[in-house]
């Protein structure tokens, strides 16, 4: 890292270089997907408490109408993605595995793209507190994949002083190009959203960090930058996981988020470009988040590209629309490094879905190759961006020594980026061991 810094290139230490696979979709403009005949809107598609339905079965809903309200501060509302009738409020499959309560809408065939429910706002007259409330009413969550409620992120703790807003445009996951396209096509919305967010958190400057494999996106944003110089774009080295919040902060500011703490403690708030673009577009119009850009790619897809997809569209409809060859076996929601393999094609696109990938059988074979004992090659130690010791953690996980893992080897600092599993020559599913260990420890603590 230091060496690269001497040459003026911004990066963090460790990490990996997976093949990017972005060429199939990076130059494809965002296209709109038609409405599926039936939409499934889960009540818990964000971190925090599920929302509470405010519609009844059989009720007509208009596109953009509030159909579920936030349940407390750590929650967001849901809006109808299309005009139709509420068919059921029931358990439906989710990408994470278990079935979750969802509102099912039968969409009218005549439903058009016009958003029927909106309450335009005069943004200049709002106080920061009012903007935070407006963000919550929008139902916005982190669109980069974490699905953390955006208004919670923008609500700065009392004792923290924020000096910098970092806008995350790295998109370091292979295959995904949604942020790339959003930066190219929706620059004005992005800048507006960034300015709103700066106002809310009280940041003096904003830095948009973009990996240097997207020079066109960097140039496109530079054209829209306001003259006051408060917002700037920085090219950062292309490396996974550059888009992880902690890595990006270290790269751009040289600061580290303290172990177990939040970035606000060191005066930084990080937001994804997709999230701020949605913020910039939806807030003044007073609309809810009812659609998002998704990369549909992978060797199993006939028409790979970036699609503006209504939230709640079942994967089956999406894949049939873009052409999906049945010989491919793995459908992933999200990127290949951190995404979930889905259990059913009835799973809907949610607010946190950044991509739908269908990988080839050769990639699956690589994933299912024989697991050998750890040969202590140290590749995972050299890859871990958090500077943990996955070798020791893996050996301890096999022995179920979860307490030792967390007390001596900092298990809880693992960001689950998957670098260790990616490089492991023995094909040990290290990050999966760590996820299990963390959830067991959390259960014990509860």
């Amino acid at each position: 890292m230091t060496l690269l810094r001497w040459f003026g290139r911004k990066t963090f230490s460790h990490g990996i270089h997976p093949q990017a696979h972005k060429e199939d979709t990076a130059d494809k403009p965002i296209r709109r997907l038609p409405f599926a005949p039936r939409m499934v809107v889960p009540l818990a598609q964000h971190l925090g408490k599920p929302s509470r339905p405010v519609v009844r079965v059989g009720e007509e809903v208009g596109r953009g109408q509030l159909i579920a309200e936030a349940d407390g501060f750590m929650s967001v509302p849901q809006h109808a993605p299309a005009t139709g009738v509420v068919e059921a409020i029931t358990l439906m499959p989710s990408a994470q595995g278990p079935r979750v309560p969802s509102i099912v809408i039968r969409v009218y065939e005549a439903s058009n793209q016009e958003v029927l429910w909106r309450t335009p706002r005069d943004m200049d007259s709002l106080t920061p507190e009012q903007i935070v409330q407006a963000v919550q009413d929008t139902g916005l969550v982190g669109l980069g994949g974490a699905a953390f409620p955006s208004h919670v992120k923008l609500k700065v703790p009392q004792d923290a002083v924020i000096d910098t807003l970092i806008v995350n445009g790295c998109e370091c996951e292979p295959y995904l190009t949604t942020d790339h396209r959003v930066m190219l096509e929706q620059g004005p919305d992005l800048i507006r959203g960034t300015q709103y967010a700066m106002r809310v958190v009280g940041a003096r400057q904003a830095i948009i960090g973009v990996e240097d494999n997207k020079p066109d996106a960097i140039a496109a944003i530079r054209r829209h930058l306001p003259a006051d110089g408060c917002i700037r774009v920085e090219a950062v080295v292309t490396k996974y996981p550059q888009g992880a919040e902690k890595m990006l902060i270290a790269t751009l500011l040289g600061r580290e988020v303290p172990s177990g703490g939040r970035s606000a403690e060191i005066g930084v708030v990080v937001n994804n470009v997709g999230t701020l673009t949605a913020l910039g577009r939806l807030l003044p119009r007073g609309e809810g988040l009812i659609e998002r850009v998704i990369t549909v790619a992978g060797p199993g897809i006939k028409k790979p590209g970036n699609y503006l997809v209504p939230i709640g569209t079942p994967l089956r409809f999406l894949l049939n629309h873009v052409g999906f060859s049945g010989s491919e076996q793995e459908v992933i929601l999200g990127g290949p490094m951190m995404g979930n393999a889905v259990s059913s094609l009835d799973v809907p696109v949610t607010k946190g879905s950044s991509g739908v990938l269908v990988l080839s059988s050769s990639e699956i074979q690589a994933e299912t190759r024989r697991i050998h004992p750890c040969i202590k090659c140290g590749k995972c130690v050299a890859a871990c961006p958090m500077h943990l010791n996955p070798t020791q953690l893996g050996l301890l996980a096999a022995k179920r020594e979860y307490e030792v893992m967390t007390e001596r080897f900092h298990l809880m600092d693992c960001i689950e980026c998957g670098c260790c599993s990616f490089v492991c020559p023995s094909s040990i599913p290290l990050v999966q061991y760590f996820r299990i260990a963390k959830s067991i420890l959390r259960e014990r603590a509860a």
Partner: protein, 348 residues
């Protein structure tokens, strides 16, 4: 459209090369030129020794992994590496039956006993060599000259010694072939006779010594191949050689009459082979960034100390075995500082 089949897995859904098999296979590839040179140098005795020792290792691995219920582990190629390395550290005229014993001990005691690949504490090849060093002290210090005229048609007499019999002496046999041969390796010549072989001879390797340790140049090239393919941690051999060089340089500067040049120390004996192919054994070396340097430097320094002050002319083997033994401790005290670590005492 047919109903697509869906398989469930956990992320990450993509994997990087190389696999364990690929790493181990490439180590074997890297050892083959060294073995070939050994055969060219020492003739059919070396060839027979390499084949017999490797065969013994493979057979032992097969029997033990099967009986331990681990299935057939020959396909991971690690036993072949142990066999090749072990053969390359033995004298070319080493009796074949002793080679079988060495191979058996290397795998059985050095590897299978600990639980197979990944669990061994010591480098298995060196465990085998240490055993035969203790068991057959005469045979393992019996050297024959390189490049003998009839080496491709005639075995070295000791090679075909019968089990549990004293091998025939090769001193007279060597003298007949090469008049001036003293029966010692360059290291032993320096230690016991004060004769220093020129570093360039050591570099190319036409000198007496263990089967595969003589050509520093060839070993370096093969090691660089592995390091360039990222199948060997370049830091460990670098640290070993650096440690040995600096230690030797200090001694040489203090007393250049008594202590040889650092280059002689680097290129003589088994230091090259040990540094590049045995100290760098992934399983028995630390993984932490500081740990690998400490481990390597320790081995390098210790090798020179043993050579200068020990009873034997060569010290690489014991230095590496000691380094292996210390590696968990080294790793324990060199745990990396994690991202965002708080100062001790601060509350999270």
């Amino acid at each position: 459209m047919s109903r697509p089949q869906i398989e469930l897995r956990t992320s990450p859904h993509i994997k990087a090369a190389p696999t364990v098999e690929q790493i181990m296979r490439n180590v074997v590839y890297a050892l083959l030129p060294i073995a070939t040179f050994a055969v060219w140098q020492f003739g059919i005795s070396a060839l027979a020794l390499i084949i017999v020792v490797t065969g013994s290792c493979l057979a032992t691995e097969y029997v033990f992994s099967r009986s331990a219920g681990r299935g057939n582990t020959l396909s991971d190629w690690s036993a072949a590496i142990t066999g090749l390395l072990l053969a390359l550290t033995l004298p070319p005229g080493f009796p074949l039956w002793m080679g079988v014993v060495a191979g058996f001990i290397a795998i059985a005691l050095g590897k299978a006993l600990f639980g197979g690949l990944g669990y061994n504490v010591f480098n298995p090849a060196l465990v085998g060599r240490a055993f035969v060093q203790a068991a057959f002290p005469a045979a393992i210090t019996t050297w024959t000259p390189a490049g003998m005229p009839g080496r491709f048609v005639e075995f070295i007499p000791s090679t075909l010694a019968l089990p549990f019999m004293t091998p025939p002496s090769v001193t007279e046999w060597s003298r007949q072939a090469v008049d001036s041969f003293s029966g010692a390796t360059p290291l032993a010549q320096w230690k016991f006779e004060g004769v220093v072989t020129h570093a360039s001879d050591l570099f190319t390797g036409m000198v007496a010594g263990s089967t595969g340790e003589t050509s520093a140049l060839l070993i370096l090239l093969c090691g660089i191949y592995l390091a360039a393919r990222r199948m060997m941690d370049w830091r460990i051999p670098s640290a070993v050689l650096l440690g040995a060089f600096v230690t030797a340089l200090i001694f040489h500067l203090v007393n250049d009459q008594h202590y040889p040049t650092p280059l002689f120390v680097l290129f003589s004996g088994g230091l090259m082979l040990g540094a590049l192919f045995m100290a760098s054994d992934m399983v028995a070396s630390p993984v932490t960034p500081w740990g690998v340097w400490i481990y390597g430097l320790f081995i390098g320094v210790l090798t020179v100390i043993i050579r200068y002050f020990g009873g034997l002319p060569e010290g690489v083997m014991y230095a590496i075995l000691l380094g292996n033994a210390l590696s968990p401790l080294i790793e324990h005290i060199t745990q990396p500082r994690i991202y965002g670590a708080r100062k001790s005492g601060a509350k999270p």
